[in-house]
Structure formats: C-alpha cells, structure tokens
C-alpha cells in the first residue's frame, strides 16, 4: 500500500476475522442454493446442472398445499399485525411519557422477549382447550398466533417513522383549517405509509419463517412450508428441500431489499 499513514481504527487481525466470518456466513447458504441445481440426489457431490428439483417439488401436492397455507397465514397475519401496530404506534409515540405507555411497550415487545418455545407451549395449551370447546379447527388459530408475534416487527419501523416526523406538521395542518380526521387522512397517514409498508414486509417475512409456534399450534394436516420442510429434513435428504429453501430465500431477499430501499429514502 502506498499510503503509510497511521490508521487509528485498525486493529490487527480484525479484518481477517471479519472477512472469514462473511465467507462462512454465506458459504453454507451458497452450497444449499448450488446443490438445488444438482442433477443427482446427493447434496455433496456435484453431478451436473439440472432444474429437475424445482418442478419435482412443485409436482408434490403436499408442497403446493403447504405453500398456499403459508402465504395465506403470512398475508392475513401481516395485515392484521400492521393495522393494530400502526394504531398502537399512533397512540404511543409523540406524546408525553406516562406509566401506561411503558406498559404498552412492554406488552408489544413481549413476543421478542419470551422464548418461542414457551409461547408455543402456552398457545398449545390455550388453543387445545378452545379447539375442544368450539370444535373449530381452522387456520384461525395460526393466523391469530402469527399476528400476535408479528406485532413488534411491524411496530418498530412504524414507530421509528413517527418519531422522525416533525410534530409541528400536524399543528400546521390544524392551523390550516383541517379537522382531526382531515389531518390524519392528508398529513399523518401519507407520512406514516412507508413505515407501515416496511412493517408489513417485516411481519410477512417473520410469519413466513416461523417454525416453532406453527408446529405447536397447527391442527393435523395444517403443515406450512417450514413445518413441512422440518419433517422432510428428519426423514431423508432430498434436494427437493434445497429447491424450496432457495425459493424462500429468494423471496426473503427480494422483500428485504425492498424494505431497505423504502426505509433509506427517509429524507
């Protein structure tokens, strides 16, 4: 290097460790994706390029149903979670701190603090008695459970957005003859929207990825894509799972990129 000036931020060995970590972080995922295009059934020996696992996975009726179910649950849960989280964010930000507010924060963040397995067990106990009492076995339980644990993920970007908002904008709107509803409709809502969309995407991804809570809450024959995959991984190793994983990965990356672009344009 030509520049021999003293780099104050350099700590010896840190760069090496960091680069190694980045490589190790992506290597397994890369291998997983690569072997989803393997012609053979082996996940370690490359036997040539092939797209056979994708149609094969899709031909599987169980995969199709699980995918459809996952999307249904994630869509419903994300919409519910984002709606209630937006309302809660409007109710909790930009006003004087009160004791009640700390309670609301605690409640909203609760799914982040309690281990998933504990929530899952609690829901199993709770829902199993309701299932017996009402006879209803549908997807409602899963949607309700997913919506609940998605709330903090939806809430955080919305709250960040609201906190970054100039309070005097709403005052200015009131000054300019807007009623409370007009202010919400023409000022607050358009400004919160990017946060709400970001929250919606995070909630969707979170719901789509869930294994543990789904596993405990689902009734028989209600496999989502992750629980189906978990069962497959235990049984045998087929590149079919690699193919499904690759598609799920792709979906996550697309949503995250959109989220990133959306939250960065916050000037």
């Amino acid at each position: 290097m030509a520049d021999r000036s003293f780099d104050i931020a350099r700590l010896p060995g840190f760069a090496t460790i960091a680069v190694t970590i980045f490589v190790l972080l992506y290597l397994p995922i890369a291998m997983l994706v690569i072997f989803s295009f393997n012609a053979g059934d082996n996940v370690a020996i490359w036997e040539g390029f092939s797209l056979r696992w994708y149609p094969e996975a899709w031909a599987n009726e169980a995969v199709k149903q699980a995918t459809w179910r996952s999307l249904q649950i994630a869509t419903c849960a994300a919409i519910i979670a984002t709606t209630v989280a937006t309302m809660a964010a409007l109710g909790t930000t930009r006003r004087r701190q009160t004791r009640g507010q700390s309670f609301v924060y605690l409640m909203i963040n609760q799914p982040l603090m309690v281990p998933e397995i504990v929530t899952a067990v609690a829901l199993l106990i709770f829902f199993s008695s309701i299932k017996v009492a009402t006879g209803y076995q549908g997807l409602g339980y899963l949607i309700l459970a997913h919506a609940a644990f998605c709330i903090p993920f939806a809430y955080l970007p919305i709250r960040a957005r609201l906190e970054g908002m100039d309070l005097s904008l709403e005052t200015a709107s009131a000054d300019l003859y807007a009623t409370r509803w007009q202010t919400f409709r023409h000022v607050t809502l358009p400004l919160v929207m990017p946060g709400a969309i970001a929250g919606l995407m995070l909630a969707f991804v979170t719901s789509l990825d869930d294994v543990v809570i789904t596993l405990f809450v689902k009734s028989a024959g209600q496999d989502t894509l992750p629980t189906y995959m978990l069962a497959q991984i235990r049984r045998s190793v087929s590149a079919e799972v690699n193919a499904i994983s690759t598609l799920l990965l792709l979906l996550t990356v697309v949503l995250l990129t959109a989220f990133f672009l959306l939250t960065r344009k916050r000037t």
Partner: protein, 360 residues
C-alpha cells in the same frame, strides 16, 4: 373595545403543570393589536411570547383570561376554526406534498372549489416569487425558499391575523436581512395584521409598527420602536433593547445629582418620582467625550478601549467607581487618542438621560 382592534388579549394567564411543579408562562397579560399593523412580541427565550402566540393560534387555551378576534371571543375555539394562520419556526412544510399543494392545503381543507384554489395558489406563488417552483417538493428547496412557501401557505386562506413564530431564526444573516424587507413588503401589500415573535431586537426595531416587550410572563411595555428605544419603561427594557449605562443618583424636580458628584438637568421624568433616589439610563452613543478636564460635565478616567471597526468602545470609570461605556465613532486613523489612565470629561444633552421608575 376600539373598532380597529384585531386581537384583544384580556388578562391571559397560562400555567403549565400543577402543584409544586407548576410553571407560570404568562402572568396576566392584556394587550390590543390593531388591524393591519405589524406587531412584534419581543423578549428573551422563556419570556412567554411563544405561549401568547399559541393562545392566539389556538394550539393552547389560557388557564384564565380571554382572547378576542375582531371583537368575538375565540378563547376556546380549536385552531382549525380560527381565521388565524401561523408561520412556524421550523416551517412545518408537508414533505409529501408539492409546493403548490402545500400552499393550497388550507383552502382545500376549507372545501373551497378547485378553481378558486388553483387561482389563489398561482397568486400566492407570484406574491412570494416562487412561480417556477410550484411542482417541487419542499425538500428540494433552499432555506429561504422554504420560508417563502411557509409564508405563502399561511397567507393563502387570507387570515384575519398572521402569526409568525421566529420565522427568520433558521436563516443565515444575509438571507435574514432580505426576508425582513420581504416580510414588511408582504405585510403592506396584503394589509393583513402580522404578529411577529422574535428575540432579536434589531429585527423588531426595523420591521415593526409597534413592539411589545415581554419578560418572565409579563408584558413590560408596548410602543412604537422609537418610543421603546428612547423612552424605555424600565431597566430591563433599557438593557434588552440596545445598550444602556445605568447611573444612580437623586432627583429633585428636573435636577439630577449623580452619586458620583456632578448635577445636571434632565428632560423627561414621566413615571419617575419627582424627588428621591432614582436610576437613570443613558445610551453609550449619546455621550460625548473630551480629553479636557475643565468645564462642566462628568469627570472620568479611561480604563479600557476596544476597537470595533466603525466604532470604538471606551470604558470609563466615574469618581465613585461606576463603570460606563461610551461609544465613539472611530476616526480615519482608527485611533481615538484615548488610553487607559487618560483623564476625560463626559457630556450629553439633557434629553439623553432617561429617569427610570423604581423597580417594583
């Protein structure tokens, strides 16, 4: 109440919080602002001027007291029902709306027809000279342009009173001077009552028809700029607006005897006691200084001279040790010829000495 009053504030008190932690922001303020005048509320931060503005705008209600607009009681009307608009310190332009939509916002909320809105917006854009910027977003404008959009937005619904909350504080000096002229022009052109809040005395003096000076929740003096400067009502006003030297002495009729010795005639004595101990104020630029130690005048000793370019400030000590400042115009050479230790005599016109009422 006189016919030409736009805003009348009757004994307004505003207390924040309760019990021991309560803070009194306004302590019984009464004030009448005339129609079509440029009225400035001047005072240091925390004096209550912004609180008073919020009471007029309707963002807050007074704890006790009344606010009247063109004769009708609006004390508890919400802001969206008051024909009063505000130019905010932070401008508060809606970032998601274009310049034109920002300006038309108030009219749209009032449900005015589209044609009227677009006609008014065009007129307003021309008024603030931003015709070319109609479709830009506020984020794409400079500070001065944003300021003008904020003005146009507040003027568009033709309010009875326009409130301006330190609108120039975010601008740099050059732009601030330009906007001062611009604001005055707009006020004259539109004929709307402007209520302007600032802590900058120069801004207040150059733009206002009348000024109200505030301190600690009290309105100390209301008057036109000249009166405020030449006849300050008390020591605070005298020192907050411009610089003042304070001299203590005894007054008897129109003869003032300085504690430091010399006696002199005084001009106005209104509000001050006719006899007894008083404080008098004198502006630094009203004092003349001569190096001769003869004749009448106040003998003094120079302690320090500070060169300011056009002016030279000269600190002098009187016989009893009172230090006062004299402002001299710097001569061409830049050297006033005075040095620490120089013996000098101070002189001034009788009218330059202002006797202040005793502090309550």
């Amino acid at each position: 109440m006189p016919e030409d009053t736009a805003v009348e504030v009757r004994d307004a008190r505003k207390v924040y919080g309760q019990g021991a932690g309560a803070v009194t922001a306004l302590d019984g303020v009464s004030l009448g602002i005339r129609k079509s005048e440029f009225f400035t509320l001047l005072g240091p931060s925390g004096c209550g001027k912004t609180t008073l503005l919020k009471l007029i705008a309707g963002f807050e209600s007074p704890t006790t007291g009344q606010i009247l607009l063109h004769g009708s009681d609006i004390t508890f009307d919400p802001p969206n029902l008051r024909p009063v608009n505000t130019v905010f310190q932070s401008y508060a332009l809606f970032p998601h709306l274009s310049v034109a939509d920002n300006i038309g916002f108030g009219l749209k909320m009032q449900g005015r027809p589209k044609s009227e809105i677009s006609e008014t917006v065009t007129r307003m854009l021309a008024l603030v000279r931003l015709d070319a910027m109609a479709d830009r977003k506020p984020g794409q404008l400079s500070g001065g342009q944003q300021q003008r959009v904020a003005l146009a937005r507040a003027l568009a619904p033709s309010p009875k009173v326009l409130l301006l909350d330190e609108p120039l504080s975010a601008l740099d000096l050059q732009l601030r001077k330009e906007m001062q002229i611009e604001l005055k022009r707009l006020q004259i052109e539109t004929g709307i009552t402007f209520v302007f809040v600032t802590h900058d005395q120069e801004e207040a003096l150059t733009m206002s028809d009348r000024i109200g000076v505030m301190q600690s929740g009290h309105l100390l003096q209301v008057g036109d700029p000249r009166t405020i400067y030449t006849r300050p009502a008390n020591r605070f006003v005298a020192s907050f607006i411009g610089e003042s030297n304070f001299l203590t002495g005894t007054v008897d009729g129109n003869v003032f005897t300085l504690d430091a010795g010399p006696r002199m005639e005084v001009g106005q004595t209104d509000g001050a006691p006719a006899t007894g101990k008083v404080t008098a104020a004198i502006r630094p630029e009203q004092i003349r200084i001569t190096s001769a130690t003869l004749g009448d005048g106040i003998p003094a000793t120079v302690t320090q001279t500070v060169y300011f370019g056009t002016d030279t400030h000269c600190r002098v000590a009187l016989a009893d040790g009172t230090e006062i400042t004299v402002r001299l115009q710097s001569p061409a050479s830049g050297d006033v010829g005075l040095h620490p230790g120089s013996e000098v005599t101070l002189k001034f016109e009788p009218g330059a000495l202002i006797l202040l009422p005793k502090a309550a």
